[in-house]
């Protein structure tokens, strides 16, 4: 285990962390403002990946595919909000969980009908395929660096929109008192639809960036969704800052655990035992982390005021 390897895995962890953040930001915004638990957020991630794949095939250009895929996911998100979720805002969380669970079944199967159940592998244009040299002896895939950069850029943009623009002001106002915002003449229904579409596009962005790194397949959204839950539970539901911190923690812990837990354990216990205990422990590490955080702070690290 060299320091270059540790550094590389740390970058991988950060890159995974910013992807988790893109998902968590949308989920936590929708929860904070509409008080809606949306299990189907993972489906939007999947839809983003598939639509970008289809659009890239259709246009033959990666960038056009990405742009079209993003726009289409935004529309799908707004459509889902108008057709199904709008009726659920006043319901309790149990109903929301169940209804969006139904949506997941629907989307997974729909995608399987259109594109088949087998995993698709999306390819990158040549200008994204290279490696960059970090320091002598360490080369890192350029694409992962781009993902990391885009994620951080979006995080910055999100902060700017929420903290410095009129839309962000409405979003924050809606989160603290929606009745009042409605009474002041703001079209709250439209605001909700826009915020939901916005969150969907962020999930779609995470999904289409994940495509070339992981496989694109039905059910891919649920794998990441549950980790995103861990992120927002650790960070505190409704807090974007919490989502960022939680995402980075979970991304790094999960990645480093998978990479180094087995060799680390092998130095402590017998190698065959480490061979089986290492991966098991690595895959449950973030859940253990969450249990510890909740045992200490039941509302997450950055618990929101209400």
């Amino acid at each position: 285990m060299t320091w270059a390897l540790v550094f590389e895995q740390l970058l991988n962890g950060l890159q995974y962390g910013v992807m988790l953040f893109l998902m968590a930001a949308g989920l936590t915004l929708v929860f904070g403002i509409m008080n809606l638990v949306n299990l189907a957020h993972g489906s939007l991630y999947m839809v983003g990946a598939y639509l970008a794949y289809a659009a890239t095939q259709w246009t033959g250009s990666y960038l056009a595919g990405v742009a079209l895929g993003l726009a289409a996911t935004l529309l799908v998100g707004m459509l889902v909000e108008v057709v199904a979720l709008r009726k659920l805002y006043e319901r309790d969380h149990l109903d929301q969980v169940l209804a969006t669970f139904g949506l997941i079944l629907f989307f997974n199967e729909l995608v399987a009908i259109v594109w088949g159940r087998a995993a698709l592998y999306t390819s990158l244009p040549t200008w994204l395929q290279g490696h960059i040299t970090l320091f002598t002896g360490s080369r890192y895939p350029g694409y992962r660096m781009v993902v990391l950069g885009v994620g951080l850029l979006v995080a910055l943009l999100l902060w700017y929109v929420v903290a410095r623009t009129r839309l962000g002001m409405l979003i924050r106002a809606g989160a603290s008192n929606r009745t009042m915002v409605g009474a002041l003449g703001v079209n709250i229904k439209l605001l909700y639809t826009v915020v939901f579409g916005f969150g969907a596009a962020l999930a779609g962005l995470a999904g289409l960036m994940a495509g070339p790194i992981y496989a694109v397949q039905p059910g891919m959204g649920e794998l990441i969704l549950i980790q995103v839950f861990v992120v927002i539970v650790i960070g505190g539901i409704g807090s974007i800052r919490g989502a960022l911190v939680g995402a980075i923690i979970v991304g790094v812990v999960d990645t480093l655990g998978r990479a180094f837990l087995r060799p680390l354990l092998a130095t402590l216990i017998s190698p065959p035992a480490a061979e089986s205990a290492g991966p098991a422990l690595a895959s449950i590490l973030i859940y253990l982390l969450m249990a510890v955080v909740l045992a200490v702070k039941p509302a997450g690290i950055f618990a929101s005021r209400n």
Binding site: H93, L94, A99, L103, I237, I284, Y287
Partner: protein
């Protein structure tokens, strides 16, 4: 439950008469199907205790189904096919895990509780996948069915009646629990947390005990299910399974004795129907479930029991 004794009697009579009937018409497959439905009904009944009466929305109930199954499978793997031991371990282990998960989870509430129970079950699911000794991802075959002499679980009809008896027993047990003093306090903490505190009941121990009882009962369902399929996979603990249990309870009617049973029958029979119809049955089931949540709020039990609103 008491108000509907006639309906219960009819339902039980139908279930008792089913095996000779389907054997007479040479469709023994239905014995298998209804047995599976009843096993899941036991799991749904156990979830109803905490979800329907206690207001604890556990999104991780499949964990105990898995633990019950794996307890039976692992004991059989090590050459211990005794049914009493296997079922005792299945129930005991589920209770212990429920105690550990509940102790942390019940400190939280609302959406946090939903997510933390989900995450704990996910943890067990990944544990099941990564332990290669017991089949890992592929699962493990049950070496031999649990032995309850003179009963033979290999005989579909005998096993069917055992499951039926156990299902009715769990319905009865939950009915006794919720109508006891303990159950009254549990329901009070659901309807108003602050008031039950004010009259001197701290909700935490009541919720935790209900959570443990519920987990133990679901462990029983798991032990039965291992014998039903003779095959145990981590998928038993998948979050889709947990979601299905929640649907059974909601569809049937939360906080009613008949609800989870009706819900299990309705959901699994509709699934069976759709599966026979198209490979892509979930594309139909998904929207059906969404519609049932939006428009069908009181559940199936509400149709039969109008007085109990």
């Amino acid at each position: 439950m008491r108000k509907n004794l006639v309906l219960w009697a009819v339902a039980v009579a139908v279930l008792v008469l089913l095996p000779p009937l389907v054997i007479a018409i040479k469709q023994p497959y239905y014995i298998d199907l209804i047995r599976r439905v009843m096993i899941f009904a036991i799991a749904a009944i156990s979830l109803n205790l905490i979800l329907g009466y206690g207001g604890l929305v556990s999104f991780g109930h499949a964990a105990y189904l898995g633990i019950g199954s794996y307890a039976v499978g692992i004991l059989a793997f090590y050459g211990l096919p005794g049914g009493w031991l296997q079922f005792a371990v299945a129930i005991g282990a589920s209770a212990l895990v429920a105690l550990a998960i509940g102790a942390v989870s019940i400190r939280t509430s609302g959406i946090y509780f939903i997510m933390i129970t989900l995450a704990f079950t996910q943890m067990l699911y990944y544990l099941g996948i990564s332990v290669a000794e017991f089949g890992g991802d592929d699962g493990m075959r049950l070496k031999a069915r649990s032995q309850f002499p003179p009963l033979d679980l290999g005989d579909p009809v005998q096993f069917y009646y055992l499951v039926l008896v156990l299902m009715l027993f769990t319905v009865f047990l939950v009915d006794r629990i919720v109508n006891s003093r303990f159950g009254m306090v549990l329901q009070a903490t659901k309807s108003n947390d602050a008031r039950s505190r004010a009259i001197g009941f701290s909700p935490y121990p009541y919720r935790l005990i209900a959570f443990v009882i519920s987990g133990a009962m679901c462990g029983l369902a798991g032990a039965l299910y291992a014998n039903h399929t003779s095959y145990i996979t981590p998928n038993l603990m998948s979050w889709l399974q947990s979601g299905e249990f929640m649907f059974m309870v909601i569809l049937g009617g939360m906080g009613t004795a008949a609800g989870p049973v009706l819900g299990a029958f309705a959901l699994l029979l509709v699934e069976e129907l759709l599966k026979g119809w198209t490979e892509y049955w979930q594309v139909v089931l998904g929207p059906l479930l969404v519609l049932s949540v939006i428009f069908f709020r009181r559940g199936l039990a509400g149709i039969f029991d109008k007085s109990d609103a």
